[in-house]
Subunit: 139 residues, 2 copies
């Protein structure tokens, strides 16, 4: 809703490059799974990085807005984050271990656009996420 999105350096979330942001980015880069902010906070702390919870939330939020990470909401209200590719896509997420696979649904986008148009809706966004048990966790 904000028109304040200022231009910023490629790949950078905020203007300044801090130890905390570096740690966060590195940690995210290492995993293919979705993690919660709290989990990330614990992990960083456990790994010896001194970071505040507020910073984790703030940075994650900024990165999400900047398109550096994807965020999905679980059924119980937690938001999970994960590094992501630049293209628009959806996810197939494992309910048990958090592993995620990026998938895209060309048909889904079209269907959404059509449904919106047919009903006179504008500025339509869509939420399309699949949750299940990955091959490993199914066993």
């Amino acid at each position: 809703m904000s028109t304040e999105t200022a231009p910023r350096a490629f790949g950078e979330v905020g203007r300044r490059d801090t130890r905390q942001r570096r740690a966060l980015r590195e940690h995210l880069a290492m995993s293919d799974s979705f993690v919660s902010a709290q989990q990330l906070y614990d992990d960083l702390r456990a790994g010896g990085d001194k970071v505040g919870l507020a910073t984790v939330y703030r940075t994650l939020q900024a990165m999400t807005e900047a398109g550096e990470v994807d965020a999905v909401r679980t059924d119980d209200g937690e938001t999970l984050y994960r590094k992501c590719g630049p293209r628009h896509h959806h996810h197939l997420v494992c309910r048990s271990c958090g592993v995620a696979i990026e998938i895209d649904g060309p048909g889904v986008e079209r269907w959404a656009a059509k449904a919106a148009a047919d009903n006179g809706f504008t500025e339509v966004t869509h939420v399309v996420e699949l949750f299940g048990l990955c091959a490993d966790c199914s066993a």
Copy 2:
């Protein structure tokens, strides 16, 4: 997760028919829009019905499990409820006024099933909701 889902009278959420549940059901039946539990609570109170907030939440939850209402989560974490038809379907919801249209996407279901199968996922559920501004609110 519970195997306790006992058989119950058609169209009824719990066993007992209370004033509160009746009021809630009637209120929902009157509208095509999604409303939050809190909103519903306020509306009922404003309408003279004495109901507790906890009861609204409990009943809404029960009705959701029973398939009497649909629930969607907004981006800011609120859960919205609405009476619904029996068939599986998705929604095109107005961000501004809550009005919703039930839509179904035969292709979406198939796409979801295929993506899941292709990646070895099992027990896959999908979340597919469209949010936008309805014709009226677009003006």
